[in-house]
Amino acid sequence: MSNRSRRTFLKNSVSGLGAAWLASNWPGILAAQEHAQQMAAQNFPTQFAFFTPEQAAEIAAMASAIIPTDDTPGAREAGCVYFIDSGLTSFLHDSQALYTQGIKDLQAKTQELFPSAGKFSELTSAQQVQALTAIEKTPFFTAVRNHTVIGMFASPKHGGNQDAIGWKLIGFEDTMNFKAPFGYYDAASNSRG
């Protein structure tokens, strides 16, 4: 999680699903991408736009529990925390307080469940799952879950899905130009004539 070459500055909330997912507006994105590209070109040092380093570590750990690293890379390697961080200074601006308070509550829950532990990010994976299960109905958890998922599967130009880690996970090829047969069954059907 060192230098991030691509940062985006999105606007408006993408915290909802369903109707909100379809209906929300998101102006300013093109200018934001231009800005992100300029930053990349200038080789800006790594820094978070919204999070303190400690907060970033907690959110990165949450994202990693939501889409873990196993035999394939997960949300940590995809850089979902950068997608969320830049979002919180722009398109997720309204969620800033939710994140600030949510991280505090998460740390309190961590202390409650594991009195000897310091931070959520310092727990073992199994302990992290236990702590998140305890808060999974909260608006904070729902927001982090959805923003992690969006960051994981949106175009890499938005800051997450680095090296197309998310797309590789689900076998999505970004070539936008395909020829039939597309899958096993239409190929099998063709070979039967």
């Binding site: 196993d70 949106a154 175009s155 039939a180 096993y184």
Partner: protein, 552 residues
């Protein structure tokens, strides 16, 4: 492009640049008339289709300039189940750009079957519904179906079967690939004795009339097409209209009223431009093609001393008999990859239950269409059907299911019911200060039984196709959406219908309503091809009538 002063009285103002509006603009301008098209949406990628945005996140959260669909936060609407309820904010949305819904739709282009125009005569009256015959027959419309298929550019296969509409001429283009979901339909159909037909699609499978064939990019339904393969009004109609030098397309023009003179004839349309300035465009006649919900709303907004209940509404039928489009289906996981994210959304349909059958014990029919997951974010946000929503199990399921998922979506009947309607919300205003659209709808009990029937059939088909896991969709009737039809129904009797069989308002000689509004029955919820055929037919008659002086 030709430009007219608003004070210049043009021959026609066409309100709405969608499936019908594009055809009306093209036919009328080619026919020698001056036309101004008022469209509330923007240009989209009109004329620079190669720039169509294929970024999923940006597509779902567009800038105003990139917007392809209406925004319920601006085009506000409310919803209620019945007239005793207070309506709450709704999510009704529809294509809103030059080209309208044809820019973003999946492209299904099924004709109605001949008997669909006279279903009341075939099945009789159904209590609690307004099922009625159309005042036209399939035979009258058939030449215009053919015209629409060839002028728009439809890919498909003519099939000689009572389950498929008879065609006087084959499709101009061969069918698109049926995909793995279609191949699995064939597996199930072979076991169950069913009929699979390649979906007729408004997407050209090969180069046609200066446009290139589909490249199966996969970012299809919901996205604008970057190679002009989707046969939208924007690529198949408006360029021809513009070339006549008689047609002006005026986007970002939100019509608030169709105005009338003391004799009760329309004189033009008042609209807000992009700066919300009010402008009156003068016209000899108005063609209203704003869609199956907005056309009726605009008539209801256009109140005057001559038309106190809204324009062309002496019958009180404007806004009634809304059919917003029900759906039923199931999804499944298969052993091997389908990769449904490649290509068009749906390659094939099973058509055996298209007709209503009294043996089932209720009125209803429809088609099942094959498809799968298409775009990454939408799939991942929804997640596995009944699995965990995060963690190791979530990740595992995403990986296993993404390209192995198949979905059946059934396009089915919805009975016209008088109380299912569009009217004006008494409290809520839209962004322009006009009364918001209020949708009131609850499907007829037979519609619910039909949804249950198609859900069960979907499960049966997926199991027969060899699925490893199958989930039935829940049964929910619709609350609006881009397939809405029926709110200005056509008929011969001015007391029970809004427009005549040629789409002319019974009450107003120089006003025509040409879009899904005039549907008497809803077909099988694949409305666009019939809207297009009706528009070509209406244009033919309007041109003849106007040239003979009927509007003078």
């Amino acid at each position: 492009m030709k430009q007219y002063e608003p004070t210049t009285e043009v021959d026609f103002v066409v309100i709405g640049a969608g499936a019908a509006g594009g055809i009306m603009a093209k036919e009328l301008s080619v026919g020698g008339f001056s036309v101004v098209v008022l469209e509330q949406g923007g240009w989209g990628a009109y004329g620079h289709e190669q720039d169509s945005n294929k970024d999923e996140l940006q597509n779902r959260f567009p800038t105003d300039a990139d917007r392809l669909m209406s925004d319920p936060k601006r085009q506000r609407n409310t919803f209620r189940r019945n007239q005793d309820e207070k309506a709450a904010p709704g999510n009704h949305s529809y294509g809103m750009v030059v080209g309208g819904g044809t820019v973003v739709y999946g492209g299904s282009s099924w004709r109605h079957l001949p008997w669909e125009f006279q279903e009341a005569s075939h099945v009789g009256t159904i209590a609690g519904s307004g099922l009625a015959d159309w005042p036209i027959t399939y035979e009258e419309l058939e030449p215009y179906y053919t015209k629409a298929e060839w002028e728009m550019g439809i890919s498909g296969m003519r099939v000689d079967s009572p389950l498929f509409a008879p065609m006087s001429k084959p499709y101009p283009l061969p069918p698109l690939p049926i995909k793995s979901s279609g191949a699995l339909f064939q597996v199930a159909a072979a076991k169950m004795g069913l009929t699979v037909i390649p979906s007729p699609m408004a997407i050209i499978s090969e180069a046609y009339r200066g446009r290139s064939g589909c490249i199966s990019c996969g970012m299809c339904s919901g996205f604008s097409c970057q190679v002009k393969a989707r046969s939208s009004s924007a690529v198949a109609m408006f360029p021809i209209a513009e070339q006549t030098g008689r047609c002006e397309i005026r986007p970002n023009s939100y019509v608030r009223e169709i105005s009338v003179d003391k004799q009760g004839r329309v004189t033009g349309a008042i609209y807000f431009d992009s700066q919300k300035r009010e402008i009156f465009q003068k016209a000899k006649a108005v063609v209203l093609s704003a869609n199956g919900t907005e056309s009726s709303r605009l008539l209801l907004l256009s109140k005057s001393s001559q038309f106190p209940d809204g324009l062309a509404n002496s019958s009180g039928v404007v806004g009634k008999y809304l059919m917003s489009g029900n759906n039923a289906g199931a999804s499944a996981i298969f052993e091997h990859p389908l990769n449904e994210y490649k290509g068009i959304i749906s390659g094939a349909g099973i058509v055996d239950w298209v007709a209503s059958d009294p043996k089932r014990g209720f009125y209803g029919g429809g088609r099942l269409t094959s498809r799968g997951q298409q775009t990454p974010i939408e799939f991942a946000l929804g997640g596995p059907h009944d699995g965990p929503r995060w963690g190791a199990g979530y990740k595992k399921a995403l990986r296993e299911e993404a390209n192995r998922k198949m979905i059946i979506s059934s396009f089915i009947t919805q009975l016209p019911v008088e109380n299912n309607r569009v009217d004006l919300d008494p409290d809520v205003k839209d962004e322009w200060g006009l009364p918001a659209m209020r949708i009131t709808t609850t499907s007829h009990p037979d519609d619910i039984k039909n949804m249950e029937f198609f859900t069960a059939k979907s499960v049966e088909i997926l199991q027969a196709a060899g699925a490893t896991k199958v989930w039935a969709d829940g049964v929910h009737d619709s609350r609006g959406g881009p397939h809405s039809r029926g709110t200005c129904r056509m008929g011969n009797d001015p007391k029970t219908s809004v427009v005549d069989k040629y789409h002319r308002a019974h009450d107003v000689p120089n006003l025509y309503v040409v879009d899904g509004s005039s549907f008497v029955t809803g077909g099988r919820n694949h409305p666009t091809m019939t809207i297009q055929a009706l528009a070509f037919r209406a244009a033919d008659h309007i041109i003849q009538q106007t040239k003979s002086g009927a509007n003078a």
